[in-house]
Homo-oligomer: 326 residues x 4
């Protein structure tokens, strides 16, 4: 089928690069309590991944003066898509910085750029599929590490959720038009303004979500990153582990939007919120009609379908009221 | 991105059309015991789907002299892909029959053709997204029916597994070259001949599998169709329900290949084997290297990683030995 | 061992007799949504039980002007214990009313009396072990009905929780001294006054709990009755079912005290709160030292170890503050 | 109630004393893979318990020339019951050996004696309730260790299953008459001879089972010991862990008798079979009628209700046939 010419495409969420103001605490949290595996440590950067991740890393943590997300890495579908995306983005007026192969350990040539909101994305194709250390390697040929080796033990990275003070629709249009994401679900405020959106390039309901709220002090904040567990029961076990580790969390509960069962817990080192979650549903329809939740529907079943919904010592409905004022 | 020209693509498995020599028993099994919902009955054809399926039907059952699979329906990614596929197939010497819109209830114009093995596939794009009857409708906007309404209650159709006396590699190459499927996992016999393969066009490990075995009396048999449940625990509940319904089954167990947890149970009406399953893993890598299981690896961890593996009153290892003689 | 003389003993919680001001709604809730089985209906009384209950009924519902608990039935260890208990109670100044065999369907001779708080208890020994209707009978010889036949499908009755404006310690001493219950866990208010207690005669952490709170308008209120499910996952399924049935509930969550995972949901007919729960722990030690939770410990881990803790539109910590004023 | 005179009673299964011909392997299995906690090591004896056990130990392991069970410890209901039992046993002609306080670490004065089959039992009342090391202590006041700290992580010891070449009914009568156990379930061979029995003194379906089979080379063999997990899902996780540890096992499956979900796995050091299990049902009825399973019923639903039933490379039905020849 050589005669066909393809648009560049994003294949999947790759990794999140976290800078933490308390590296030791962040490692205690992500590596020892959540149970991510450490591929290697190079120049002070800790490269982590879940037992079912295949690439060199899905989370990197390095020490910094303040905590922030340096960038979010996305893998393209074809090697040439990196350059094609770069050209299209530059043509559209976006600044693009090339990252040399190896500048990020395990990774080939890549480009970095910012969304209209200021969130920094990275596009790459080549990434080492580093095998696990023999002592931790799974007996299964299609799995990287032994499962259940320590802590909560999620299987794989799942999605990122961007928080912003920026206009929601504008970011969503950028994700759709420049990067090929498809809108899956969204909700609106009482004035029918789109304020939160779930988008994906895969069969997942979302690889990325965007939440617009005036609680954001900046346009490029992070609401959370998420790792996946296979079963609802695994979240209940996670709740026990987090209690025994004396880390506060919100959940378990089930969202109506995305149908995902969740626990939200903050890394005490960096303050980054982690969602450990499961269930949800997959979208296979090529003509998926984005599910719109009105404000009333959102409050009734869209947000917390059931379960614990406290958030950051702030009542959730309060959050929504703040949010819809934007 | 109008300048790009796309190859036709299959988006997803759509449905299976079953002819049963004992319609009443098949309805007792699929509708009342497994718990599929009946969208409607037209001209003696019962159109069924799971509570989380969006299309008009994912299984149709009609009465016949003997039991067989009439066809397996696949949805294309774009409307024009149906005609493009038809042309490419005809150019390659495959007979293609056009099916008029409405000939299959809920469905638009489609084409039917046979694999080299004789398995009949259908390609369509348009299909009604019939809403549920108000009394059975979910309170969630992104879900068709109330979940857990009756019986085993799977969420959605998942995959088909074709059994054949035909050469495995030839069918696999056809699925890859003519239809765009990607090979995910396979195993070989002691002579290093490929005898079973798992392929997908989605992020699922497989939308279709092909098992070559001399136990097949024909080249175009069906090993099983599969419906998905969200949690491993749901399979244990299914086991209780099937025991109480006095239907024999195999499982629960977990395959190493695909990492899926399974129960296999035969429709007593048609003899069609149903897999109810969960877990497994998703593939997001665009350059996925098919996982090859040698015969020894297949026997050790590939087939039944753990759990019950009896099959059809025939010892499983015996089956494999028969299979590898082909 | 004929030479031994035994004190009378309670063997187990038997049943709860509920009067509902909206019988139809209560039946919709307990029979159709929670999924209790109806043994029979006699003189307007509906006799219900869970699929794993062995006795004729564990819940009876009858229509009334107002909703209330008529009595809570307890089965004695030996037939003669009913009369021995009656004598000991009368000797201690308690009014005892004899209930003739058959006055409560399925039940032999019994006695009814009131706790110091006014909660009415019944003691009986003989009760029909009515087999299930053949069409609903389990294929297992040690199980009454097929499991998972409809709705939430709890296995068996578990405990009752009495709410009272009365002094907690006085009721607890009565349960210990007159009826042989053993104190398992309790918590105190900031003034070190015992305000809530969990007691049992079986290996369960509690067959009965007593919560003293000024929110009680009367000394003999009911906080909830509880039915048991085998697995934590079953509660998550129950949450889905209750949402689809549009019945509000609290949970899921896990108590530190008793380690039980819970959902609380009110019968919309009578207003009686039902706890559907699982997990917890068993006590086999004959010298069990009651676990005392200080007020601080209660707030931290004793009440809701994790999960959803909203209650009756009143913040839980508010409840506790009200409670400890008593 | 001082006027009452009580028969001596057994309150619960206490512990199993294992001698292993490969101590290191047994510790790798029970401590590191199953995940029991080590209370202390004294004079070469390793004292272990599960995270939810309260006593000093529920399993002790010491090195020996050959592997065997030294004794099975049972806790009495009252301190004086130890001496009363000793007198009754001696009066009935059983040899009783007194064990001084401290001879078994943590334990008070005890007696040891043999069943007619030669299985050695120990009766004790006093046993240290050793708190967990602070670093491993649970944040819950009613739980010994943090749960889920390592490996399979069962909650508590549950029961023992004695295998014997001896007559089943005779052992059962001894357990009933001399020790107060109640018969809960049993099955018979085609000649209607009782060959396997489940008995308890607690609300559990069984604290002890006795299986008579000619496969026993001696009258006092051990079929297995069992530890409890809270949820069915926990067994599926255990299956994954055991596969990754490359330890063969049987299961998961569900017995009809006792309704327990099981995995059977052998300690590679001593050859002792461990059952990790959950679910099952509790018996609260004081007049429980033992459930008798005929040979046909046993084969159909009594043994493996569903799931994996392979055993020791010997077909299960073969085992039964051997067994019933006795």
């Amino acid at each position: 089928m050589e005669k066909f010419i393809y648009a560049p495409e994003i294949a999947k969420l790759g990794h999140v690069a976290l800078v933490s103001e308390d590296l030791e605490k962040s490692l205690w949290f992500f590596r020892d309590t959540i149970g991510l595996e450490e591929t290697e440590v190079v120049d002070g950067v800790h490269y982590l991944r879940a037992w079912g991740d295949f690439e060199h890393h899905t989370l990197s943590i390095t020490a910094g003066e303040t905590s922030y997300i340096d960038h979010i890495g996305w893998r393209t579908k074809r090697r040439e898509d990196v350059a094609t995306f770069a050209k299209l983005l530059e043509d559209a007026g976006t600044d693009v910085r090339w990252v040399a192969a190896g500048e990020e350990v395990g990774q080939g040539e890549a480009v970095r750029f910012e969304l209209p909101s200021g969130h920094r994305f990275e596009l790459y194709y080549d990434m080492d599929k580093t095998p696990a250390d023999p002592s931790r390697k799974s007996v299964l040929k299609n799995q990287t590490y032994k499962s259940w080796a320590k802590g909560v033990s999620p299987r794989r990275i799942d999605h990122v959720n961007l928080q912003t003070s920026h206009d929601n629709a504008e970011i969503v249009q950028y994700l759709q038009n420049a990067l090929g994401f498809k809108l899956r679900e969204y909700f609106v405020n009482p004035d029918d303004v789109q304020v939160a959106s779930w988008l994906s390039v895969t069969n997942l309901v979302h690889d990325v979500a965007v939440i617009s709220t005036p609680r954001s002090k900046a346009p490029n904040e992070m609401h959370h990153i998420a790792y996946w567990l296979d079963n609802a029961q695994d979240l209940l076990r996670a709740a026990d582990i987090l209690c025994e580790s004396e880390v506060a969390f919100v959940g378990p509960g089930k969202h109506g939007i995305s149908q995902a069962m969740y626990i939200y817990v903050k890394d005490p080192g960096s303050g980054l919120r982690l969602e450990i979650f499961t269930n949800g549903y997959l979208i296979f329809e090529p003509d998926w009609e984005p599910v719109k939740w009105s404000y009333e529907e959102y409050l009734k079943n869209g947000s917390a379908y059931w379960g614990d919904r406290r958030r950051d010592d702030v009542d959730r409905e309060e959050q929504v009221k703040q949010l819809i004022k934007s």
